[in-house]
C-alpha cells in the first residue's frame, strides 16, 4: 500500500511540474519587469551591427547620467521588430533599416513622427588578414574559386549586398556579367552580417560583403565599394510609445543625435546623420 502511495505522490509531483514552471516563469518575468522599470533602467533594442558603437554609447550615456543603467538587446533588426510587435517591453528601438522600423510603427509601438535617422552605413568587401585568395580589386571577386560569403536576403545587410551586385552590372569597369559571376562564387548566405565577418576573419571565406562599421571593428582587410554602387543603409531610431521611462528614452535618442553621439558613431565606422549639433543632448530634462 505504501509503495502505491509513493508512486501516486511521485506522479502527482511530476504532473504538477509544468505548472511550477509556468508559475515560476511568470513570477520571474514579473521580477524582470520590475527590475527593469526600477530607478533609471533603460532597455534599448538595437540592430546587431550597432553593438560596438552602442555599447560605447551606453557607457557614455551612463557617465552623463550616473543613476541610469542602460541594457541592450542586440539582434537582427528583423528579429527585434518581431519581438517588439509581439509586445516585448523596451524603451528605445534602433533599426539597421527603414523597413523594420516601419514594421514597428505599423504595430503601433512607435509613433511615425518620433522616428529619427541617426546614422548611415555603407558596404565594404572584407578579406581575411592574410588574404589567401590574393584579392585586391572588386573585379577579383568574380575570379573562379573565390569563396564569397553574403548575409542572407532575410537580413538587411544581405539585401544591400544584392543591391550592390545589381548596380555593379551597370558599371562599365566591372562588366555586365559581374553580378552573375560574383553570385556564382557565393558559398554561403549567412544568418547575419556578423557571422559573415566571423567566417571571413577565420579565413573560412575568402571575402564577404559587410558593413564598413563591422569591418572597422574586426581584424580584416577591406576593399572599398565606390559611392555610386554602394547602397546607403539608413539607421532610424525612436523611443517606444509605451516606454516605461519615456523621458529617459527620449534623452537616449537625443544623446545619440548630439555632437558627442554622432562623433561616437563616426569613430565606429558609421556615417553620421549630417547636420551635427542639430539637436543637443539634454541631460537635465532626462534626470529622473
Amino acid at each position: 500500500m505504501t509503495r502505491q502511495r509513493t508512486i501516486w505522490l511521485v506522479l502527482i509531483l511530476l504532473l504538477l511540474l509544468p505548472l511550477f514552471f509556468i508559475v515560476g516563469g511568470a513570477l520571474l518575468a514579473g521580477d524582470g519587469r520590475n527590475g527593469r522599470s526600477g530607478e533609471g533602467a533603460l532597455t534599448v533594442f538595437a540592430a546587431a551591427s550597432l553593438s560596438d558603437a552602442f555599447e560605447a554609447m551606453g557607457r557614455q550615456f551612463e557617465a552623463a547620467h550616473p543613476d541610469v543603467r542602460v541594457t541592450f538587446n542586440f539582434a537582427g533588426s528583423q528579429q527585434l521588430a518581431q519581438q517588439l510587435a509581439q509586445g516585448a517591453p523596451g524603451d528605445v528601438f534602433a533599426s539597421a533599416n527603414v523597413q523594420q522600423m516601419a514594421a514597428v510603427v505599423e504595430s503601433g509601438r512607435i509613433e511615425a513622427d518620433a522616428v529619427e535617422t541617426f546614422a548611415y552605413n555603407r558596404l565594404v568587401v572584407a578579406l581575411p588578414p592574410d588574404n589567401p585568395a590574393g584579392l585586391s580589386r572588386l573585379s577579383d571577386l568574380t575570379r573562379p574559386g573565390v569563396r564569397l560569403a553574403l548575409a542572407d536576403e532575410a537580413v538587411p545587410a544581405g539585401r544591400y549586398a544584392l543591391t550592390f551586385l545589381e548596380r555593379a552590372a551597370e558599371a562599365p569597369e566591372l562588366g555586365a556579367d559581374f553580378e552573375e559571376r560574383a553570385l556564382a562564387n557565393v558559398v554561403s548566405y549567412e544568418q547575419n552580417v556578423r557571422t559573415v565577418l566571423t567566417k571571413v576573419a577565420l579565413g573560412e571565406a575568402d571575402a564577404g560583403i559587410v558593413y564598413a562599421s563591422d569591418a572597422a571593428a574586426a581584424e580584416v582587410e577591406t576593399i572599398e565599394i565606390p559611392e555610386g554602387l554602394n547602397p546607403r543603409a539608413s539607421y532610424p531610431m525612436a523611443p517606444l510609445e509605451d516606454a516605461e521611462r519615456p523621458a529617459l528614452a527620449e534623452a537616449f535618442v537625443n544623446f545619440v543625435l548630439s555632437d558627442r553621439g554622432q562623433q561616437t558613431m563616426a569613430e565606429f565606422g558609421f556615417i553620421p546623420a549630417g547636420a551635427p549639433g542639430a539637436r543637443e543632448a539634454a541631460p537635465e530634462e532626462a534626470s529622473p
Binding site: 502527482i12 504532473l15 532575410a154 558559398v187 548566405y189 549567412e190
Partner: protein
Amino acid sequence: MSRSPHRPRRTLEPRNRWWLLSLPLLLFLALPLAALILRSSPRQVWLNVQQPAVYQAIVVSLRTSVAATGVTVLLGTPAAYLMARRSFRGKRALDTLLDLPTVLPPAVSGVALLMAFGRRGIAGGALEAAGVDIAFTQVAVVLAQTFVASPFYLRSAILGFAAVEPELAQSAALDGAGEWAVFRHVILPLSRSALLSGAMMTWARALGEFGATIIFAGNFPGRTQTMPLAIYLGFELELDVALTLSVILLALSFLVLIGVRGLLGREGE
C-alpha cells in the same frame, strides 16, 4: 494495448483521476503540434513543396541525414561493440565522452567543428593541403549531423550488444566459432532491433540538426541549406514556407518514432 482479462476490474473513479491529472501536460504537448497542422492545409503544403527552395531543402536534408546515418552505423558499430563487450582503462571516461554531443548546445558543436575541420582548423589545414575541401560543402553538413546525432545510435547499440547473454556467445565460441563469426551470427541478429531503432533515432536527430550546421557548414540553397535552416531563414521571409517544412519534419519525426516503437515492440513480444 489489450487489457489483461484476469486483472480485477477497477471502478471508474481512479481511472478518471489519472486522466484528469495527465491532461495538462498532454494538452501542452499536443497543442503546438496541432497548431502547426491547423495553420497549413495539405493543398498549401503541396504547392509549397514544388517551390525550388523548399524542394531543394528537402533533397539536401534527406541526402545528408542518410549519409550521416550511414557513416554512424559503419563506424559506430565497432565502437559500440568495444564499449559493450570489452573492459579497458578509461572506458568510463569514454562512455561519458560519447554522450557529450547530445547535451552540448549544437552551436558549441558547430564552433568546435569549425576549429577542428575549418580551413584554418587543427585538421582542416592538412585536409585542404591534401585536396579535401570541407568548408561550405555537403560534407560539412554530414559531419555536423554525425557529430550531433551519432551518440543516439551508439547508446542504443551498446545497450543492444550488452544485452546479449554472455553464455550464448560463449557456447557458440565453444562450438568453434571465431569471434567474428560469433559477432556476425549470434550477437548481430540478437541486437538487430536495438541497432535499427538506434539508427532511426540518429537519422531523425540528423534530420533536425540546425545549430552546428549553420555555424559549420553555412547556408546555401541546394547545397548546405537543410530543412531546419530553410525554416529558420524562411520564418523571417516567408512564413508559409517555414510552415510547410515544419509540417514535413513533424510528419517524418512522427513516422520515425512509430517505426522505432514497432521495431522494439515486435522484438519484445
